[in-house]
Amino acid sequence: MKLAVYRKKSPWILHYNAGGCNGCDIEILACLGPKYDIERFGMINSGNPKQSDILLVTGPVTKRSRERLVEVYAQMPEPKVVVSCGACACTGGVFRGMYNCEGGIDQYIPVDVYVCGCGSRPEQIIDGVIKALDILERKTLELEVSVRLKKVPVEENGQVNRREVAAKIIHTQHTYE
């Protein structure tokens, strides 16, 4: 497909903080500033899931944010990639094991690129996004047909738990490799 070439040229970023300390968010904003200026590559911090291609998540999944995370992910039209930014988003980082915290975001949504560092540096983030762009170009629309959720999300303590349901999405989405 010829149009796939242009995905690389205009990746629109959606940035979501799932509950981190804001360190990584500041680094992401630094990417947009004059020093790193990722708008050179056509990237925009669009802030609207329905029009973005890359989901940049920072921070660990907290019990409050997990639903919103899955919701935001589900609202993005395919092709899309997820970049988890910082140690928190990858594994839980310094928040791992805390009572309000669920650990890395890959328990809930499929992650394509992991960017390390507690306060990952802007260079690392740009690197991660470029890597994500390669994956984005390889994705095809056929592989990304939406999947019907097999199980009804269970409700516990007044909160919807989509853990098992999300696992099914991971299974179907990773078949492109």
Binding site: M1, L3, A4, Y6, R7, K9, S10, W12, G33, P34, D37, E39, R40, F41, G42, S46, G47, N48, K50, Q51, D53, Q75, P77, E78, P79, L141, E144
Partner: protein, 279 residues
Amino acid sequence: MKGFIIPVLLIILAPFIGGLVHGLERIVRARMQRRIGPPLLQPFYDFLKLAGKRKMIVHSAHAFLGIMHFVSLWFALALLLLGGDLILVIFLHLLSTSLLILAGYSTRSIFSHLGANRTAISILAYEPVLIILAVSFYLVTGSFETAAVFNYDKPLLLEMPLAFVALLLILPVKLKKSPFDVAEAHQEITGGTEIEFSGIFYEAVYTAKWLDYVFCYTLVYLFAGNNILLGAALILFTFIYVNALDNSSARVNYKQMLRFSLAVAFSLAFLNLILNIVI
């Protein structure tokens, strides 16, 4: 703009011209912030990328209204360039904006509703001024047709300078530029009415914004009469003015915007109208 070829070419190429203007605008903005900025053709890359995305529609009427917004805007632009009735052009433009407002109200998203509210308020801010401008054009040239304006042998700028100032004051509202961009307000309501569009349906709304550039700059061009050089100078001046204002000012809220445009821009246009009647 005599003859038939140039207007027709302009109409067909309008999305491309608007896209180039948008690309240039993004570069100018980046340079003003000491950045390098995206390539000139970036809006077209965005366009081609969006064509390949999955289409998620909220409901079919919503998507249809988005596309009709684009089509009716293009139609208004065509009428303007072909020398149609200025009042009709302004109302067609109003129609296309109201289609977008309807689309905004037709979803359940609160941001979409907010954006639709604010778009309706910005119509309230610029529409009276535009109507008075059209009447002023009528008083000077003796006809509501823009063809008469394109063939008018004196620059209209000298006959109605206050009207030009009024147009400059409402252009940021119309183009959704910074002091008066409450309707779009990307950091606040992330685009307002356009928030629920995706894929090629967002493309229609995105391209309609490019058409709006061409529409607004053609309105500016009207002030030059049949003097092409003056017209080009006016367009260049307006481009620099709009972008400098966009980058150097913060957003005001909708009440301040309404108060300003009705108190200052509207009274300037009205004063100009009275002067045109008296002289």
